[in-house]
């Protein structure tokens, strides 16, 4: 046995012991502090329930006012079209002013009006139907418009078919398939997407605040004079939050699968692996921000703007990146959350598509290594 080896082994053991002691100390602190319980357990649960039960981007049973100025067979047919549609809950209203009052009071989201000469002009082939939508929520308004058009077009087609049989001629019909989400349920992407929010919150937000607090109070410098090395302190600080973050991921996976019946098509192992990668990226970001700013309030605000907001807005979690302007799409390429969301959506809904998984995971790994190195540099530099 060479002397070098004989001294290295006990040194490694001492290092491991020191790190373990730090982890235990930090872990106890995390467990005892009610605020880490709030953010590690209460917040993930709350997000899961809110996204799973309260928030829905699916448009259905939209209340609308239906104004029929003069009853006729054709008008009743259009009305029946709206009543049968799962997207609308029509309310018959006697006059236009009444309907407008309902819309101003936000009791209905739209008005469909069949004018007095509807039946006569429908026979001539130039009837006009007015659709008014309350468009303050533009997205909802557009979907309502599209569905209303479809409901009216269908009843028009029915009338045409009954009226002139073969003379009506053929038309192109759309037959659509929704791959990976045949249930057309917005929970299918909202609940898996939550994992990105929870990891960002615990990994980046929590870590940056905890570490900034140590700097603010000067306890970091105090630790530096002990035999503990700076990277050991960082590992000790961060490990409990890493565990907390993985707990959040597990919570999301279990509730997605069993509470909301979201399928997990890919392998759990890959899912766990890429989640760890993204958690590492988040933790490293939090460390870097806090070690460079050294102020709790500032670190928390910067972390929110630099990690949480992009994870919510620029990751493709809710808002599809294929529709945003080019400049925003270019910015989104430097947002790590974007790669993770792509991984999540694919692993949950499509399966182990390696041509998606490998490049995205590789990117996350590179970012994690770079950020961790930078965070270490920032910590060391501040010592001098």
């Amino acid at each position: 046995m060479t002397p070098a080896l004989s001294t290295r082994a006990p040194r490694m053991a001492a290092k491991a012991r020191r790190i373990w002691a730090l982890i235990r100390k930090e872990g106890r602190q995390v467990v005892r502090d009610p605020s880490s319980f709030a953010i590690g357990v209460v917040l993930p649960l709350m997000l899961i329930l809110l996204f799973g039960y309260a928030m829905s981007l699916d448009v259905e049973h939209v209340p609308i006012a239906l104004v029929i100025d003069e009853p006729s067979a054709q008008a009743s047919d259009v009305a029946a079209g709206f009543e049968l549609s799962p997207y609308f809950t029509p309310h018959r209203v006697a006059s236009m002013p009444q309907a407008q009052a309902l819309m101003l009071a936000e009791k209905v989201d739209g008005i469909v009006r069949l004018p007095a000469d509807f039946a006569r002009r429908a026979a001539q082939g130039d009837a006009n139907v007015q659709i008014l939508v309350y468009a303050v929520d533009a997205n909802r308004a557009r979907i309502i418009e599209v569905y209303a058009e479809a409901a009216i077009a269908q009843s028009a087609a029915r009338q045409a078919a009954e009226g002139h049989d073969d003379a009506a001629g053929g038309s192109a019909v759309v037959e659509s398939q929704l791959w990976f989400n045949s249930a057309n349920d917005s929970r299918y992407y909202l609940v898996p997407g939550l994992i990105v929010l929870i990891i960002t919150l615990i990994g980046a937000f929590m870590t940056s605040m905890v570490v900034a607090r140590e700097w603010e109070r000067g306890t970091f410098e105090a630790l530096f004079v002990t035999p503990v090395r700076s990277d050991e302190i960082l590992i000790g600080k961060v490990t409990p939050y890493f565990v907390l973050g993985m707990g959040g991921v597990l919570l999301c996976m279990v509730s997605a699968r069993f509470l909301f019946n979201v399928p997990i098509q890919g392998s759990i192992l890959t899912l766990t692996g890429v989640s760890m990668l993204y958690l590492l990226v988040s933790v490293a970001t939090g460390l870097l921000i806090s070690s460079s700013l050294k102020s709790q309030f500032l670190a928390s605000q910067v972390t929110l703007v630099a990690t949480f907001l992009p994870a919510l807005m620029l990751s493709g979690f809710i808002y599809d990146l294929r529709s945003v302007p080019l400049a925003v799409r270019l910015i989104s390429y430097v947002v790590p959350a974007r790669y993770f969301v792509s991984l999540l959506q694919t692993l949950f809904l499509a399966g182990d598509v390696w041509s998606v998984i490998l490049p995205n995971a590789a990117f996350l790994a590179v970012v994690a290594v770079v950020l961790l190195a930078l965070a270490r540099l920032a910590t060391r530099k501040s010592l001098g």
Binding site: D33, A38, G125, A135, V174, L178, N181
Partner: protein, 372 residues
């Protein structure tokens, strides 16, 4: 009385100095609303525009090219590839290169000419089902428009019914018009709530709370002195967001600024009340900040900012009644887009006043309770 005012003014000055003495924090507080407005304004669209699709035209006829031209011309789609075999379809969708594949069968034109219905098959990537749904809606409109053209070109009767849609308060259906005014309240709530939550916790952590207690201040004066600085910063942030809305995004302001600011001040009172209450229970700054965040999360998700309140389950809708942000967003929409006056805003104003009164008195009670 005059003495009390002087004392409170001194406390406000001290409080503003404590927050704003750090130049980086000053920049952060001023820039944050602008950054958030820009990120949200450009990224938060649920509409589809220019999304990539693939066409698999197995007919290669006049009719099929006319249909694809309709899709290309809709502005919603942009064709990146013409497929030649079925096998390519799966790979393109799996790797998220295209959102849609439109497949036109070989007998498309023949069937139409014979007066039969012809099927256009559309496959959409449902990993984000709402984008996919919106995109399918656009395909439907493009096909309707193709049908109308086809019929008029071939001497058939046009579809008997035309539609004239009109959108109130947002004629071009621009998502930004909805979002940016709503952000005025959301952004300011975030900061004022956090600042208020930190204000007392900071004194506790730095050990200056005891000094404050022995100073000649009544608990109410301390509260006022802590509330006003956070509100002042909130008003400045709201103004920044408003400036971005008007001068960057050019969203026309239909109402009166006085009305908007009256509503905002009432809202900020409610937000500060919640923040001070959090502050009175938090032992450290970290706790204050995290509690504030945990409260802020459901408030912002259940405010109508991202998803409409009336499509939430009834229990949750009842919960939103205690959410001041819900009223603030409704109020800023009504003033900003609809030009509503105070008379129409009453249903938003009184709940915020009640929330402010309740949280502020709860916070005051907690202070007194903790002091004694």
């Amino acid at each position: 009385m005059w003495d009390a005012v002087r004392r409170v003014v001194a406390l406000i000055r001290k409080e503003l100095l404590a927050v704003l003495k750090d130049g980086r924090t000053r920049y952060m507080l001023m820039l944050q609303p602008v950054l958030q407005c820009l990120i949200f304004g450009y990224a938060a669209t649920l509409d589809v525009s220019n999304v990539p699709y693939a066409a698999f035209d197995r007919d290669r006829s006049e009719a099929s090219s006319a249909l694809l031209a309709k899709l290309d011309g809709s502005g919603a789609f942009h064709r990146i590839v013409n497929l030649t075999e079925v096998a390519q379809m799966k790979r393109l969708i799996d790797t998220q290169q295209v959102l849609l594949v439109v497949q036109i069968p070989p007998d498309f034109q023949r069937k139409l000419s014979q007066g039969e219905d012809a099927v256009v098959q559309v496959i959409a990537d449902g990993r984000n089902s709402s984008t996919a749904g919106t995109a399918l809606g656009y395909v439907g409109s493009a096909v309707d428009s193709f049908n109308a053209d086809w019929r008029s070109d071939h001497g058939l009767a046009p579809p008997p019914v035309q539609l004239s849609p009109r959108a109130w308060y947002n004629p071009n259906l621009d998502t930004r018009w909805n979002l940016i005014p709503a952000l005025i309240g959301t952004i300011t709530m975030m900061s004022t709530l956090m600042l208020a939550a930190l204000s007392v916790a900071r004194e506790r952590e730095e050990g200056t709370f005891d000094q404050l207690l022995v100073a000649p201040y009544s608990p109410t004066e301390i509260m006022v002195g802590k509330a006003i600085p956070a509100m002042l910063i909130g008003v400045v942030q709201a103004t920044n967001a408003l400036l971005v809305a008007q001068f960057w995004f050019h969203i026309p302001f239909a109402g009166s600024f006085v009305t908007l600011y009256i509503g905002l001040i009432l809202f900020l009172l409610a937000a500060v009340g919640i923040g001070l209450f959090v502050s009175s229970i938090a032992a450290t700054m970290q706790q204050g900040m995290l509690f504030a965040f945990v409260i802020m999360m459901p408030f912002s998700l259940l405010s109508g900012l991202t998803t409409p309140i009336n499509s939430m389950p009834p229990v949750i809708q009842d919960f939103t009644l205690i959410n001041p942000l819900r009223y603030a967003i409704d109020l800023s929409h009504k003033v900003y887009l609809e030009g509503a006056g105070l008379d129409r805003l009453w249903p938003d104003l009184w709940p915020m006043a009640i929330i402010a009164a309740a949280t502020l008195s709860a916070a005051a009670w907690m202070f007194r309770y903790r002091i004694e």
